[in-house]
Symmetry: C2
Subunit: 188 residues, 2 copies
């Protein structure tokens, strides 16, 4: 029996067959799996910037999104800034929530679980004594992040928990946040 | 002599005096430096989600941004998705660029360097053999990220490099990406 015969069908809008075909194709041609994601951040004024995302490379070719996506970044008024956008720290939480949630939808579909609604509440603790340089023992980033899922679906709690666990296991952003990544910063 | 007397004035739109006052105030009252940033990610369909950022806590109180900021997340058409938003991986690059760029503006102002334009080109390498589960030795996240700054300012190259270095040293997102953070994920 194949997985298709044993797994009930769920339409969550994820094309799981295409993902499985991609996995097969990239197993045979691993160099095509190398992607480069890009963002261009332009300073506007003060702490306000606009970052656009458009082109990327992968599958041995250059690609562009259907349209450019823009992110306004700024600091809030309590930091004497103009609050023209989310803080960069909040963008990290947005990235984490979006990544895990796409994974939940993909894994649920693969397992035949029909989703009705999924909401992730993401919270991160940050002690500003770090970024303000008050206490060298306090880190600049998050001391911890919590993600709490509310899921309405036709599946028992244990199955939903297993879906969330599998999403974590394959999440690019969960990995990027929980494990160190080398970042080089230089002047052109 | 104070720094104000020795440092030339630069108007980059950053209120450095307010930041210095905040540092002084939070040194005296460290519990007020504890912030909680939040994001609410709602699944739309397929890999498409919408994350909103609005409230946060800090300075011992609840706050809201002047408006809610929304982020559309999705996967591109080459992954058989609808490309309704940036990938979560790209959001991480946007967060990093926005954080370092706000820092560049703040540090430059503190050092009396007038900025004319600042652009950060952020690139991240990701081998999809990780997230597709093809090769367990390939990580899900970025194998490396590069940030390249183009800065037009009234300062010698060495001073701009020092500003970039100081921005890294105090960046919340640079820390979050380069160092591990504990993330808990649970079903409500």
């Amino acid at each position: 029996m194949t997985a298709t015969e044993t797994t009930p069908f769920a339409d969550n809008g994820v094309n799981v067959d295409a993902l499985l075909q991609a996995r097969e194709a990239l197993t045979a041609m691993p160099e095509a799996a190398r992607f480069e994601w890009r963002a261009r951040c332009e300073w506007i004024r003060g702490t306000h910037s606009r970052t656009t995302v458009h082109g990327f490379s992968g599958l041995g070719a250059e690609h562009t999104h259907r349209q450019a996506f823009a992110f306004e970044g700024d600091h809030p008024e309590v930091f004497a800034s103009e609050d023209n956008g989310a803080t960069p720290a909040e963008m990290v939480l947005a990235a984490l929530g979006a990544c895990l949630t796409a994974g939940v939808a993909a894994v649920a579909t693969r397992r035949g679980v029909q989703l009705r609604s999924v909401v992730a509440h993401v919270e991160g603790d940050m002690d500003l004594q770090g970024i303000l340089g008050i206490d060298a023992d306090v880190r600049n980033g998050y001391s911890g992040i919590r993600v709490r899922y509310e899921i309405d679906a036709d599946a028992p709690r244990a199955e939903l928990e297993a879906i969330i666990a599998q999403s974590q296991k394959r999440s690019a952003v969960y990995d990027a946040v929980t494990n160190p990544t080398n970042v080089s910063v230089e002047l052109a």
